[in-house]
Every structure is written in C-alpha cells, then in structure tokens.
C-alpha cells in the first residue's frame, strides 16, 4: 500500500532562513512523489515531483526536494524563506499508473518577517 507521512503539523521559520518540510513515504514498487502547496481559500498548486533520475528535484518558486531512498524521505527545501511562502504544504505519493494519489496530512508553514 502507498502512503506518505508528514510528521510536523506546523513549521515556523524566520524570513531569509532556510526551510525544510519533512515527508517520508512507504510504497510497494517505485516511488512517485509530489509536493503541492495550498494558499488560503485556494486549490492545490503543483510544486515539484520525483519520478526517476536526479535525487535533487527543482520546482516552482525556488523550492527543491531531495529524494532519499535509504531513508524513504522526500523533504521539501528552500534556501531562503519568504513571508509569501506561508501556506499549507502537502506531500503525495502516486500509484504506479498515476491514477490515484495518496496525500499526507499537510504541514502548515509560517514564515515570520
């Protein structure tokens, strides 16, 4: 069965500091991993994905994520946080045919000026 876990309900970081939002996964087969962001009263926006290839994936708005097979993790990172990055972040894992996504519980990111 496919699942992801986001161990932190909330992450607080000061503007300009690096941020990390954690995600671990459990899959049978190859992992297909995604990050989405949700701003208040909005739908989810795709940030980045790992399907195969380079373990460091770069995405939108300066975000990147590192796929670590040995630790079964796919943490989202950004070198310098902005107040506008404050939002709800979801990690997701897909079925082999991308027809079903399993979302984590979400992590609220608060970036303070």
């Amino acid at each position: 069965a496919q699942s992801v876990a986001q161990p932190e309900d909330q992450v607080n970081v000061a503007e300009g500091n690096p941020l990390t939002v954690k995600c671990t996964y459990s899959v049978s087969g190859n992992p297909y991993l995604f990050w989405y962001v949700q701003y208040p009263n909005r739908g989810l926006q795709f940030l980045l994905k790992y399907i195969t290839g380079d373990n460091l994936v770069k995405g939108s708005y300066g975000f990147e994520a590192e796929f670590n097979k040995s630790q079964t993790s796919f943490h989202l990172k950004k070198p310098s946080a902005l107040v506008s990055d404050s939002a709800l972040y979801f990690c997701a894992v897909s079925s082999y045919n991308f027809n079903k996504f399993y979302f984590g519980s979400g992590t609220k990111l608060n970036v303070k000026p």
Binding site: N41, R42, G43, L44, S94, S105, K108
Partner: protein, 114 residues
Amino acid sequence: SAVISQKPSRDICQRGTSLTIQCQVDSQVTMMFWYRQQPGQSLTLIATANQGSEATYESGFVIDKFPISRPNLTFSTLTVSNMSPEDSSIYLCSGRDRDYNEQFFGPGTRLTVL
C-alpha cells in the same frame, strides 16, 4: 498545464437539499477526480470520474450520496445529495492528462450545510 474552474465557489445550503458542483477543464484530460477536504486538513478521494461510464467510488462513498457525471473529456459534475451538516467541507476537482504525471486542481467549492 490545464486550468480547472469550479462553480459555485461557495454555497450555504439547507439540510436535506442537494447541490451540484461543476468542474470545467480548459483542455481535454484523461482522468478527473473529486476530493473532499476539511479546512486545513488532508484530502480524501471521493471518486474517479470516468468519461462515458460510471464513476469509481472509494471506500465510504456511494453513488446515491455523491452521483457524478462526466459527459466529455473537459467537464464533470459532483452532486452532494440529501445534505446534512456533516457534508460541510471543501470539494475539490482535479484532472490529469496522459502527458503529465501530476494532477491539477480546481480552486474548490466551500460548502456549508445548516
């Protein structure tokens, strides 16, 4: 990437009534999905809307309560029937094209049942 719109964006409904939510994609997509989300919480998949055939429902969701239509590759509707306050939630539509692995989401419909 596809752009998805939903109507209505929000509604307040009375117990026992039904609401139909529309989802429109600006391009043809292979798959369309309906999710439910409590504010600030994770997403729960309700069903996969199949073009030209009956939707595929997840455990805990039934067609009588959440009938779904998908008449073509760009449009789908979800009806929330015989509503109760427990149906108050955000309902999200998403689509996936065969050329992309990721899903694209609509802005959601915020439903409040009194």
